[in-house]
């Protein structure tokens, strides 16, 4: 956990928060302004190079943000060393799998 301790985790949490917040703002604005009427329009929107890339970056940074947040929660409440380490390991695997899943969804959509 040394690569993600203290100030570095704190800073990364803020940077990912800013990106995720800006992404959510624009995603909501875009969906309100131009709600996709059908599958073709929805697929075209998501696979647009700018939207697709922004979404892929969002998926990775949002998962990183969530990972750091859940890690903080575990470090706050889970005290026994063995249980804490197990919880951190399970969470790490969970987020790695979610990251792979997110990228797979986007690549699959791009190839459709």
């Amino acid at each position: 956990m040394s690569v993600l301790s203290g100030q570095r985790a704190w800073l990364l949490q803020r940077i990912t928060a800013v990106y995720a917040g800006v992404y959510v703002f624009f995603a909501v604005a875009l969906l309100l302004a131009r709600p996709p009427a059908d599958h073709a329009a929805w697929l075209a929107l998501i696979t647009h190079p700018v939207v697709g890339l922004a979404t892929a970056v969002f998926a990775v940074l949002m998962l990183l943000h969530a990972w750091i947040g859940l890690r903080d929660v575990i470090l706050d409440y889970v005290r026994p060393f063995g249980v804490r380490l197990t919880a951190l390991a399970i969470v790490a695997i969970f987020f790695l799998l979610l990251g792979l899943w997110a990228l797979w969804i986007l690549i699959e959509a791009a190839l459709r």
Binding site: R14, V24, D38, I46, G69
Partner: protein
Amino acid sequence: MTTQGRPVFLDLTKIRLPINALVSILHRITGVLLILSIPLVFWLFQLSLAGPEGFEQALGVLGHPVGLLLLLGWLWLLMHHFFVGIRFLLVEVGVGETRKGGRDTAWSALIAGIVSAILLWAVFL
């Protein structure tokens, strides 16, 4: 690392939370619940992109009474986390550090989260 003899008061039924503490613990709770929602959101996202049928199925899930209720709850999770997150970033750069300023921004973030969630939900309806 426990300090001996330090007073510990953790009776959750007797702790009174000021508004800034309330939005703060809700920020943490909404964060954890949002994490739990990720698999469901990814599944819906993948389904909606799979094809015209999947797109309609995804809309059907969201349009189902249970889906609509979950959507409202989820939108609040997201909007609360969003606005309180902005508040934290502002506090960290020195905005609203007075007692009154802190309370005002906490109330603003709480209300903005509730109102925007209801509005977005109404638009989806």
